[in-house]
Amino acid sequence: MTIIPLYIAIPLISAFLIPILGKIYKPLVWMFSTMVSFALFILSLYGIVLTQETSLIVYKMGNWAPPLGIVMAFDSFSAFMVLVIAIIVFACCLFSIRFLSNYTGQWKFYTLFMLMTAGIMGIVITGDLFNMFVFLEIAAIASYALVAFGLKGEQLEASFKYMVMGEIGGLTFLLAIALLYAKVSTLNLADISMSLQTIHGTTFFWMVLGLIVFAFSIKAALVPFHSWCPDAYPAALAPISSLLAGVCTKVFGIYTLARIIFNVFAVSRATDPWFFNILIGMGLLSIIFAGLTALNQKDYKRLLAYSSISQVGFILLGFGIGNYFGVVGAIFYILAHGLSKALLFFTSGSIVHSIDKTNIADLSGLGEQMPTTAWSFRIGAMSVIGLPPFVGFWAKLFIIIGAVKAGMIWIAILTGALSILSLAYLLKIENNVFMKKTTAIIKGTPFTMRIAMVFMVVLIVVLGLGFQPFVDFIIGPAAHALLRGVEYAHLVFEGVVTGF
């Protein structure tokens, strides 16, 4: 039996079950959620195996052929994204168990968490434009509610700001869908891609693509539209910050943008270099502006939020380079940044759980008292900066190789040089928070939180050391899936259909 709809159905059914379970016996809720997220993790590994055999699996909902019904198009890029999502969701679930013991309304948290998971999974699997919008809204609405979950003034305010910006993005996307539908009269991504071939390069084409890029740059928190991000990440509870920074912005903004640019609008560097130069420009703007702002931050989580914006810039840079190595680097970076940034937000959560402060000036000397947290921070930070042998280094290296191969030497040099910015702001935390001496007695980090951090550390180190097979078997095919452009449409129509 095929498993592709289960990626959506499993979290969805558990979201519907959790309110009932919560009324029967409260601890059942977290046990159930952790089990479900672990099951998703196992299933996502199986998804990778599936895409090794066939390059694109088409699942027809209700058995309607592609332009009629909604199809799920599961290729190597989707499989890779599902894997990243499942890893981080599992870790966040593990981390939430004890973190939430300070908060009320646990079943509501887990229900929203599962709905968000279902939404994110749906975005990466679906092969239909409007369906993508619907899943985007599910995940977005769940995340607005989760940001405000603590009910403090600044959390409500951050949630409102996030909601305003996010909904402008979402509705702009809907406007673009409406215009596109009026023109091509179909909603299937593959079918749209075929129809757009005839009007490639017209005003209409660029106008709609412009609307879509605008919508997703808000969702991805790229620099001119980033203002919700440094409020929402610090305000949210730590596991939610990890999830938002680790996968949400990547899936809401970057995955959708990459899929639509490469596979649907089938723009490539060969035909339209200026468009890709704009992407590079947006990436560089994010890296430099957010990196410099991060240097001045006084709050632990706020600094990490700016660092996140700056790192998303690197991903966009990779896609903007647009050749095989650049795209491999960008895709690798999604994983590397997801793991490292989720880990860094875990460390902030562990500090909040123990002493309930996030101002860098108020914290000092935690290195001795909280060794697991301190070492997790150091490894995560080294991966973000891009030091070998951690996973972040290889991702950055591929982007640099891509830039060199494309003949953009100055981009390669800038990419290397701008890592110093990350080094600077992360050293600030290391020096102030973890290095100095302190006499304060601090309560230890709970076991499950440490497990979650160690899990991420192990992944960062193992994937860093064994990057070669990982790139060959998972990321390389994912990059090919993106770069095959309009070929995607033909594959969907002839696609392999799995069933009994």
Partner: protein
């Protein structure tokens, strides 16, 4: 053409309320307006002059209907809009309970 442009105008009125107004309820109203504008535009592009509503009443007559797909999609979009509006109003209500005002200039715990 004028019909489509009036949808864009409604969109801009809503955007104006979101960007310029400082009252939280007005911002929520702006959102409702933008949602209406997009829904209306979407429903209008599926219209066909002289065609009937897409409901079959007799089997054998030739069918000359308007496009049913935008109607189905707008149905979904209306519900999504309702969900967003309800959540937004809840956040607004909680903000009011803490700050006793709807004026965003007075609600400034966050910097930047």
């Amino acid at each position: 053409m004028i019909i489509f442009v009036s949808c864009i105008l409604l969109f801009l009125i809503g955007l104006y309320a979101i960007v310029i107004k400082r009252n939280l309820i007005k911002i929520a109203i702006g959102f409702a307006l933008i949602e209406y504008a997009v829904n209306l535009l979407f429903a209008l592009v599926g219209f066909k002059r002289g065609a009937l509503a897409p409901i079959i009443t007799q089997i054998d007559t030739p069918h000359h209907f308007v496009d049913p797909i935008p109607q189905a999609l707008v149905l979904t979009a209306i519900v999504i809009a309702l969900g967003t509006t309800a959540l937004m109003l809840t956040v607004i209500l909680r903000i009011y309970n803490q700050y006793k005002t709807f004026d965003i200039a007075k609600i400034k715990k966050l910097t930047g």
